[in-house]
Protein backbone atom coordinates (compact mmCIF):
# COMPACT_ATOMS: atom_id res chain seq x y z
CA UNK A 1 0.00 0.00 0.00
CA UNK A 2 1.21 3.46 -0.84
CA UNK A 3 1.99 5.64 2.10
CA UNK A 4 0.76 9.19 2.30
CA UNK A 5 4.40 10.33 2.21
CA UNK A 6 4.90 8.64 -1.14
CA UNK A 7 1.70 10.17 -2.49
CA UNK A 8 2.87 13.60 -1.30
CA UNK A 9 6.19 13.01 -3.03
CA UNK A 10 4.50 11.99 -6.28
CA UNK A 11 2.05 14.91 -6.24
CA UNK A 12 4.81 17.44 -5.59
CA UNK A 13 7.11 15.90 -8.20
CA UNK A 14 4.32 16.25 -10.74
CA UNK A 15 3.38 19.80 -9.78
CA UNK A 16 6.93 21.10 -9.29
CA UNK A 17 9.29 19.29 -11.65
CA UNK A 18 12.99 19.73 -11.01
CA UNK A 19 12.62 20.44 -7.29
CA UNK A 20 14.44 19.07 -4.30
CA UNK A 21 11.79 17.63 -1.99
CA UNK A 22 12.26 16.27 1.52
CA UNK A 23 9.29 14.85 3.37
CA UNK A 24 9.13 13.85 7.00
CA UNK A 25 6.26 12.03 8.64
CA UNK A 26 5.97 13.64 12.08
CA UNK A 27 2.77 11.83 12.99
CA UNK A 28 4.36 9.81 15.80
CA UNK A 29 5.27 13.05 17.58
CA UNK A 30 1.61 14.01 17.68
CA UNK A 31 0.16 10.69 18.84
CA UNK A 32 -2.75 11.28 21.18
CA UNK A 33 -3.00 14.94 20.21
CA UNK A 34 -6.14 16.34 18.56
CA UNK A 35 -6.10 15.47 14.87
CA UNK A 36 -3.86 12.43 15.34
CA UNK A 37 -5.28 9.11 14.22
CA UNK A 38 -4.40 5.58 15.27
CA UNK A 39 -2.87 4.80 11.88
CA UNK A 40 -0.70 7.93 11.91
CA UNK A 41 -0.18 9.71 8.58
CA UNK A 42 -1.57 12.99 9.88
CA UNK A 43 1.38 15.34 10.42
CA UNK A 44 4.08 16.08 7.85
CA UNK A 45 6.97 18.45 7.28
CA UNK A 46 8.10 19.27 3.77
CA UNK A 47 11.23 21.09 2.68
CA UNK A 48 11.22 22.07 -0.97
CA UNK A 49 13.72 23.92 -3.07
CA UNK A 50 12.10 24.73 -6.39
CA UNK A 51 12.75 27.08 -9.27
CA UNK A 52 8.95 27.54 -9.37
CA UNK A 53 9.14 29.57 -6.15
CA UNK A 54 11.41 32.28 -7.56
CA UNK A 55 9.54 35.57 -7.57
CA UNK A 56 6.66 34.17 -5.52
CA UNK A 57 5.71 35.49 -2.09
CA UNK A 58 5.33 33.26 0.96
CA UNK A 59 1.57 32.94 0.80
CA UNK A 60 1.63 32.14 -2.91
CA UNK A 61 4.25 29.40 -2.43
CA UNK A 62 2.27 27.75 0.34
CA UNK A 63 -0.98 28.05 -1.59
CA UNK A 64 0.59 26.36 -4.61
CA UNK A 65 1.74 23.44 -2.43
CA UNK A 66 -1.64 23.24 -0.66
CA UNK A 67 -3.36 23.09 -4.05
CA UNK A 68 -1.12 20.24 -5.20
CA UNK A 69 -1.94 18.35 -2.00
CA UNK A 70 -5.66 19.15 -1.75
CA UNK A 71 -6.61 15.48 -1.97
CA UNK A 72 -4.42 14.66 1.04
CA UNK A 73 -5.99 17.42 3.15
CA UNK A 74 -9.41 16.08 2.19
CA UNK A 75 -8.22 12.58 3.05
CA UNK A 76 -7.28 13.31 6.66
CA UNK A 77 -3.91 15.02 6.56
CA UNK A 78 -4.05 17.29 9.56
CA UNK A 79 -0.85 19.34 9.56
CA UNK A 80 1.74 20.25 6.98
CA UNK A 81 4.75 22.29 8.00
CA UNK A 82 6.35 23.90 4.96
CA UNK A 83 9.72 25.38 4.25
CA UNK A 84 9.64 26.54 0.64
CA UNK A 85 12.71 28.04 -0.95
CA UNK A 86 13.78 29.22 -4.36
CA UNK A 87 17.21 27.83 -5.36
CA UNK A 88 19.03 31.15 -4.74
CA UNK A 89 17.66 31.27 -1.17
CA UNK A 90 18.81 27.77 -0.30
CA UNK A 91 22.54 28.50 -0.39
CA UNK A 92 25.26 26.46 -2.05
CA UNK A 93 23.92 23.14 -0.83
CA UNK A 94 20.46 23.88 -2.29
Amino acid sequence: MQTRASRIQAALDAAFPGSRIEIEDDSHRHAGHAGAQPGGETHYSVLMVSPAFAGMGRLARSRAVHAALAAEFEGGMHALALRLLAPEEAGPKG
Binding site: H33, R58, L59, A79, R83
Partner: protein
Protein backbone atom coordinates in the same frame (compact mmCIF):
# COMPACT_ATOMS: atom_id res chain seq x y z
CA UNK B 1 -19.50 34.47 -0.49
CA UNK B 2 -22.88 33.23 0.72
CA UNK B 3 -21.34 31.50 3.74
CA UNK B 4 -22.93 33.14 6.81
CA UNK B 5 -19.93 32.31 8.99
CA UNK B 6 -17.79 34.63 6.85
CA UNK B 7 -19.77 37.53 8.31
CA UNK B 8 -18.86 36.47 11.83
CA UNK B 9 -15.22 36.12 10.85
CA UNK B 10 -15.19 39.55 9.24
CA UNK B 11 -16.76 41.13 12.30
CA UNK B 12 -13.92 39.72 14.41
CA UNK B 13 -11.03 40.62 12.11
CA UNK B 14 -12.37 44.11 11.49
CA UNK B 15 -13.02 44.84 15.17
CA UNK B 16 -9.56 43.71 16.32
CA UNK B 17 -6.29 44.81 14.69
CA UNK B 18 -4.57 41.47 15.36
CA UNK B 19 -6.58 38.24 15.51
CA UNK B 20 -5.24 34.71 15.84
CA UNK B 21 -7.57 31.85 15.00
CA UNK B 22 -6.08 29.05 17.05
CA UNK B 23 -6.64 25.80 18.88
CA UNK B 24 -7.05 26.56 22.55
CA UNK B 25 -6.62 29.97 24.11
CA UNK B 26 -3.59 32.27 24.30
CA UNK B 27 -3.10 31.13 27.93
CA UNK B 28 -3.73 27.44 27.20
CA UNK B 29 -2.93 26.66 23.57
CA UNK B 30 -3.90 23.09 22.67
CA UNK B 31 -1.68 22.66 19.64
CA UNK B 32 2.05 23.16 19.19
CA UNK B 33 1.65 25.26 16.06
CA UNK B 34 -0.83 27.60 17.73
CA UNK B 35 1.41 27.79 20.79
CA UNK B 36 4.37 28.87 18.67
CA UNK B 37 2.49 31.80 17.14
CA UNK B 38 1.22 32.90 20.57
CA UNK B 39 4.82 32.79 21.79
CA UNK B 40 6.05 34.97 18.92
CA UNK B 41 3.28 37.55 19.35
CA UNK B 42 3.90 37.67 23.08
CA UNK B 43 7.64 37.98 22.54
CA UNK B 44 7.23 41.04 20.34
CA UNK B 45 4.64 42.48 22.72
CA UNK B 46 1.71 42.59 20.31
CA UNK B 47 -1.74 42.47 21.88
CA UNK B 48 -4.07 40.17 19.96
CA UNK B 49 -7.43 38.51 20.15
CA UNK B 50 -7.34 34.72 20.20
CA UNK B 51 -10.31 32.88 18.72
CA UNK B 52 -10.51 29.29 19.91
CA UNK B 53 -11.72 27.26 16.93
CA UNK B 54 -12.09 24.14 19.08
CA UNK B 55 -15.09 25.80 20.74
CA UNK B 56 -16.81 26.61 17.49
CA UNK B 57 -17.07 24.02 14.73
CA UNK B 58 -18.57 26.55 12.35
CA UNK B 59 -15.61 28.92 12.68
CA UNK B 60 -13.17 26.00 12.58
CA UNK B 61 -14.32 24.95 9.12
CA UNK B 62 -15.35 28.44 8.00
CA UNK B 63 -11.95 30.01 8.59
CA UNK B 64 -10.31 27.48 6.27
CA UNK B 65 -12.70 28.38 3.48
CA UNK B 66 -12.49 32.10 4.25
CA UNK B 67 -8.72 32.29 3.78
CA UNK B 68 -8.55 29.39 1.34
CA UNK B 69 -6.00 27.98 3.78
CA UNK B 70 -6.32 24.40 5.02
CA UNK B 71 -4.75 24.64 8.46
CA UNK B 72 -4.95 26.43 11.80
CA UNK B 73 -3.49 28.67 13.28
CA UNK B 74 -4.21 31.64 11.04
CA UNK B 75 -3.08 35.19 11.80
CA UNK B 76 -4.97 38.26 10.59
CA UNK B 77 -3.69 41.81 10.81
CA UNK B 78 -6.04 44.71 10.05
CA UNK B 79 -8.49 42.34 8.44
CA UNK B 80 -5.89 40.72 6.20
CA UNK B 81 -4.68 37.12 6.31
CA UNK B 82 -0.93 37.01 6.98
CA UNK B 83 -0.21 33.30 7.25
CA UNK B 84 0.02 30.24 9.43
CA UNK B 85 2.69 29.04 11.82
CA UNK B 86 5.53 28.55 9.29
CA UNK B 87 5.06 31.90 7.62
CA UNK B 88 4.77 33.81 10.91
CA UNK B 89 7.91 32.06 12.17
CA UNK B 90 9.87 32.87 8.99
CA UNK B 91 8.66 36.48 8.99
CA UNK B 92 9.56 36.87 12.67
CA UNK B 93 13.06 35.47 12.15
CA UNK B 94 13.61 37.79 9.19
CA UNK B 95 12.29 40.80 11.16
CA UNK B 96 9.52 41.17 8.58
CA UNK B 97 6.70 40.48 11.00
CA UNK B 98 7.80 43.32 13.23
CA UNK B 99 8.20 45.79 10.35
CA UNK B 100 4.87 44.80 8.79
CA UNK B 101 3.09 45.34 12.12
CA UNK B 102 4.75 48.73 12.63
CA UNK B 103 3.81 49.76 9.10
CA UNK B 104 0.22 48.94 9.91
CA UNK B 105 0.39 51.11 13.02
CA UNK B 106 0.57 48.31 15.56
CA UNK B 107 3.07 48.92 18.35
CA UNK B 108 5.85 46.34 18.73
CA UNK B 109 8.02 46.22 21.84
CA UNK B 110 11.38 47.94 21.32
CA UNK B 111 13.78 45.05 21.92
CA UNK B 112 12.05 42.69 19.49
Amino acid sequence: MTNPVFERIETDINANPVVLFMKGTPVFPQCGFSARVVQILSHIGVPFKGVNVLEDMEIREGIKAYANWPTIPQLYVKGEFVGGCDIIMEMFQAGELQSMLKEKGIPVSAEA
